[in-house]
């Protein structure tokens, strides 16, 4: 059986994709109220009147749409280019830990913004370090060339 997602169009919130089987997702619907909460227990909609329409789509449709909004892959790429190999996993893990914390307390949208800010704040010191290392190696190579 193909996995399906329930799509709620909620006024003031937009589209909400809810998969009943996702761990930690709470969906409670009564005659007058709908409660959708993510696994962070952040309540997204509590009033049934705000649900404009509802339909079901195959899961892959949502997965394809959701990918470009993921902030991580390009940020990871930038850090991988500049960090020392043994520090890459740890630094990316640190940013994810911040992201997870921010999602819980500030919401996903602000967490994404902060994730990017943290990544860009990280680039200039790493770039300076990388350029410094390259110049040092350049100086060593130039000195060796002068000797031989």
């Amino acid at each position: 059986m193909k996995k399906q997602l329930r799509v709620f169009h909620i006024s003031g919130v937009g589209k909400m994709f809810v998969e009943g089987m996702v761990e930690g997702t709470i969906i409670r619907v009564t005659d007058s109220d709908v409660l959708l909460a993510t696994n962070r227990n952040r309540i997204l909609a509590t009033n049934w009147d705000r649900v404009l329409k509802e339909h079901i789509v195959p899961r892959y449709v949502v997965q394809r749409k959701a990918k470009p909004t993921d902030p991580r892959w390009f940020a990871d790429f930038l850090l991988i280019m500049l960090l020392k190999p043994s520090h890459v996993a740890s630094a990316i893990g640190d940013l994810r830990e911040h992201f997870d914390r921010d999602c819980r307390y500030l919401g996903r949208r602000r967490a994404i913004w902060l994730y990017w800010r943290r990544t860009f704040d990280s680039l200039s010191p790493l770039l300076r370090r990388a350029i410094g290392k390259a110049l040092r190696w350049g100086a060593v190579i130039a000195a060796v060339r002068r000797l031989f």
């Binding site: 850090l79 520090h87 990316i92 830990e97 911040h98 704040d121 680039l123 010191p125």
Partner: protein, 109 residues
């Protein structure tokens, strides 16, 4: 800058690593420094400085456990070495000596 001299951030990092021992890793170091100085160093500046300190032999690292909240990425715990302790002590003594000189002149430090 000579090999034993430390920048302000390096001093902060070494002090945080000592204060958090044995749980000093990126996020805990950042939180520790932010709580005490009011300024949050970026992840990049922390790792660039730790890289420099590792090169000088002032800190060493060991891998920790991966956790779900970190997207399955492992933590990297840092500990200070004996030369690191020595460099930090020297650096703090230099600041102390300089500020002592100012205090003798009656400057508010």
């Amino acid at each position: 800058m000579s090999d034993t001299e430390l920048t302000t951030l390096e001093q902060h990092l070494l002090l945080a690593i000592i204060g958090l021992h044995p749980n000093a890793y990126g996020v805990s170091i950042q939180d520790h420094i932010k709580a005490r100085t009011g300024r949050e160093p970026s992840t990049g500046s922390i790792y660039a400085s730790l890289d420099r300190l590792e090169e000088k032999g002032f800190v060493k690292s060991r891998q920790g456990e991966p956790t779900a909240e970190r997207g399955g990425k492992r933590k990297l715990y840092f500990t200070i070495t004996a030369p690191g302790h020595g460099a930090l002590k020297e650096s703090l003594q230099a600041i102390d000596a300089l500020s002592h000189g100012l205090r003798q002149k009656g400057a508010a430090v």
